[in-house]
């Protein structure tokens, strides 16, 4: 009953997201102007920044879900945390791959072991390890509790990564909440694009892209939570079935 109502809302959400993504993609390719120094390659920017943004939001949601679980152990918060970490990892991977593809023409290398890129790889490993921890614990309640503690501890590294990115010298430019010092360190990237949103159309495209990706996150989260509920329901039915069969034999 509850699940069917959820289904309809999720279906609407999925369609809205699909349309938003098509619009954002259209804007990236046809509305945004060609960047002066980088040319068409710069269009990766809208995809790259939006993915990175959603990745950060997803890990923050996981932290909030972890805190809520510890305050009041309710399975739904654990589900939200797992779903969010999974999706966050996907978006972080997309941001890294997109950044790497862009790095080749911009820095003439696929990869650079600068603090920022190194720390992002570490953040990826940190959240991948989350699933290793979950996989090693059988008891459901304990798994949820430890996982909640782990997302809180993991977020400490995200905060320190965030600060490091903004105060250590790096080749990568800072888009959100940058400081002057880091901008100086990133002079190579700076010339190419950091204040480089010189045109209003670029800013509008970036915002549209971030909005579309945020919608995609919400849609994925809703679908993933629904999936988890179905899994839980199936497991409960299995247990009931086994109990019924055993009861019948006895």
């Amino acid at each position: 009953m509850e699940l069917t109502r959820l289904n309809r809302n999720i279906r609407i959400l999925n369609w809205v997201t699909a349309v938003a993504l098509v619009i954002a993609l259209g804007m990236i390719f046809f509305y945004a102007p060609v960047e002066r120094t980088m040319g068409n390659v710069q269009r990766i920017f809208y995809f790259h920044v939006a993915s990175a943004w959603v990745g950060a939001v997803a890990f923050f949601v996981a932290l909030a879900a972890g805190l809520l679980y510890l305050r009041k152990p309710d399975r739904k918060w654990d589900t939200v945390a797992v779903a969010s970490v999974e999706i966050g990892l996907v978006f972080l991977t997309m941001a890294t791959v997109a950044g790497s593809v862009w790095g080749k023409p911009a820095w003439n290398t696929w990869w650079e072991w600068s603090p920022r890129l190194t720390l992002i790889t570490i953040a990826w490993l940190t959240y991948a390890a989350y699933f290793m921890l979950r996989g090693a614990i059988e008891d459901e309640e304990k798994r949820a509790r430890f996982a909640a503690v782990y997302v809180i501890v993991a977020f400490v590294t995200i905060i320190s990564t965030y600060i490091s990115i903004r105060i250590l010298r790096d080749i990568h430019p800072v888009i959100f909440g940058g400081t002057l010092e880091s901008a100086q360190g990133a002079e190579q990237g700076l010339q190419e694009f950091a204040p480089g949103l010189e045109s209003t159309r670029m800013v509008i495209t970036l915002n549209a892209s971030v909005a579309a990706f945020s919608l995609l996150y919400v849609a994925w989260l809703a679908n993933r939570i629904r999936l988890q509920r179905l899994i839980d329901q199936t497991n409960a039915l299995k247990i009931r079935l086994v109990a019924r069969l055993q009861g019948g034999n006895a």
Binding site: L133, A136, Y150, V156, T161, S164, L168
Partner: protein, 233 residues
């Protein structure tokens, strides 16, 4: 609730009791520090082998080697110190005492940090001999100390979880090494800055050192507040 009065408050009495207990165990068994030092020496020799006795190359990467050795030896120390508690079921006894869980956490962090600092003194000595680096400088020692505190703060909370899982010792480095790298990266940068003959201006190391301190404070608070959920069964 907690009173942070240093004199005779039950909270700090509990913390020091835990530290004292760990020191006594170490005095009797001498297991943790000896295992850590032996492992570290083997690691340093292995690194030398990997660098093909190329002393110039070894000198350049010495600070990185020092931190890697500390991290790897640290996982051994953490596993050892917390596994003893489980094997002998001393943790259950400690948990029965009417003390705050945060006090147990702080006690364990202080105890294992002390062991790791002793290991670091040995390592500094070894590195000065092998790689001829000015590691005795007071700022270097300070950064090593700050880095160790943050690493062990994360380590105690993670190890307390991993020793209760199926895969136990195997899981610890997989979880702890990525968690501690955002701390070790700036700490290694700060130590590397002091490896030149002339002392660097403070402005140059200010950023990495402040990141290390922020990480320490955040990790200590996170561990302090969540430890309760990790040890309760």
């Amino acid at each position: 609730m907690t009173s942070f009065n240093l004199n005779n408050s039950p909270f700090w009495a509990a913390v020091w009791a835990i530290v004292w207990k760990d020191l006594q165990i170490e005095k009797q068994t001498r297991q943790t520090i000896s295992v850590m030092s032996m492992f570290s020496l083997a690691t340093v020799i292995m690194f030398n082998f990997a660098l093909e006795a190329n002393l110039a190359a070894a000198r350049q990467v010495a600070t990185g080697l020092l931190w890697s050795t500390i991290l790897l030896a640290g996982t051994l120390g953490l596993n050892r110190s917390l596994a003893i508690e489980r094997e002998n079921q001393t943790m259950e006894a400690v948990l029965m005492a009417p003390i705050q869980r945060g006090a147990i956490y702080l006690g364990k962090v202080i105890g294992i940090t002390l062991f790791t600092l002793i290991l670091e003194l040995i390592l500094i000595f070894v590195f000065i001999i092998f790689f001829d680096k000015p590691l005795w400088r007071p700022p270097v020692l300070l950064v090593l100390f700050l880095g160790t505190v943050g690493y062990i703060a994360a380590g105690v909370i993670v190890t307390s979880m991993t020793i209760q899982t199926r895969t136990r010792e195997v899981l610890l480095p997989v979880l702890l090494l990525p968690l501690s790298l955002p701390l070790v990266l700036p700490a290694a940068m700060a130590v590397a800055a002091y490896m030149f003959p002339q002392t660097p201006p403070f402005a140059e190391v200010q950023s990495p050192i402040s990141i290390v301190i922020i990480y320490d404070l955040l990790m200590l608070s996170a561990g302090f507040l969540t430890y309760h959920y990790v040890v309760e069964s």
